[in-house]
Symmetry: C2
Subunit: 125 residues, 2 copies
DNA sequence: TTTGATATACGAAACAATTCGTAGATAAAC
DNA sequence: GTTTATCTACGAATTGTTTCGTATATCAAA
């Protein structure tokens, strides 16, 4: 199966569906509007395009269609991360990781999780 | 000072200058061509635009101009990372970190560096 | 000093992503 | 049953990015 690469606007829509599950255009549009004014038909058009690309599934058995993400969050994240890592950090994962941890406030629990992963990775070296 | 956000093509040019230092359009173009065929004037135009945006400095005391990055690699990386983190991982740095480390092969030295950073971060909690 | 290679400048084409207006269908409210 | 609100469909405008063709200048080699 081939994974389509979402554009920025498409990704925003996916985020809403990943977070809240299958929903209407109106619901998605209203969520997007919390961050940035967007016309209803703009969101509609985008979701139609995404459906065309098989990025979204659509239940059109009722007048008001229900859309859902047809791609896995993790798959898309992995795909975008690969590209970003390469373009921005020339492939150096450790640099990216250091920046990411340096900038943001990450909880102790999350840091411990990362530490566990390090143990696991380093175990195999 | 305001940091301009480079586009994809602009970032590729910055990467060359960050890696090799101040250089000519031809040099940059030839490096870009290793990855992807690009016309000379395309690269030239882009670098002129970037100069206009004050993303690159230019020494035009000779016929062949010498360009250099006028923005710090770290600053741009931080800026792009923030945006990417938000757009793709809804701000969860730990998720991004786990993905990044999971996907790529990172050396033992790098992993140790990350571990040190963790110690440091966790020390303050 | 003519020819050829190589430089900059820059308008405009080509391409891609996003936004919006409008038409037409359906449902709900009156 | 007529009006009003809400839905989808979709063409087209807008905006942003990238690519390229062409004009013109400069330098070096013949």
């Amino acid at each position: 199966m081939k994974i389509p690469k979402p554009t920025d606007a498409e990704l925003e829509i996916l985020q809403v569906l990943w977070e809240y599950g299958a929903n209407t255009v109106r619901f998605v549009n209203e969520h997007l509007n919390e961050k940035k004014e967007t016309g209803y038909t703009t969101t509609l058009k985008l979701m139609q395009i995404m459906h065309g690309k098989e990025m979204l599934s659509r239940d059109d058995s009722n007048r008001t269609h229900i859309f859902d993400a047809a791609v896995k969050e993790e798959d898309i994240q992995k795909e975008l991360l690969d590209k970003f890592l390469d373009a921005t950090f020339r492939g150096s994962a450790s640099k990216l990781v250091m920046h990411a941890l340096g900038n943001s406030q990450t909880s102790k629990e999350e840091l411990d999780q990362i530490r566990q992963l390090l143990d696991q990775l380093e175990g195999g070296k």
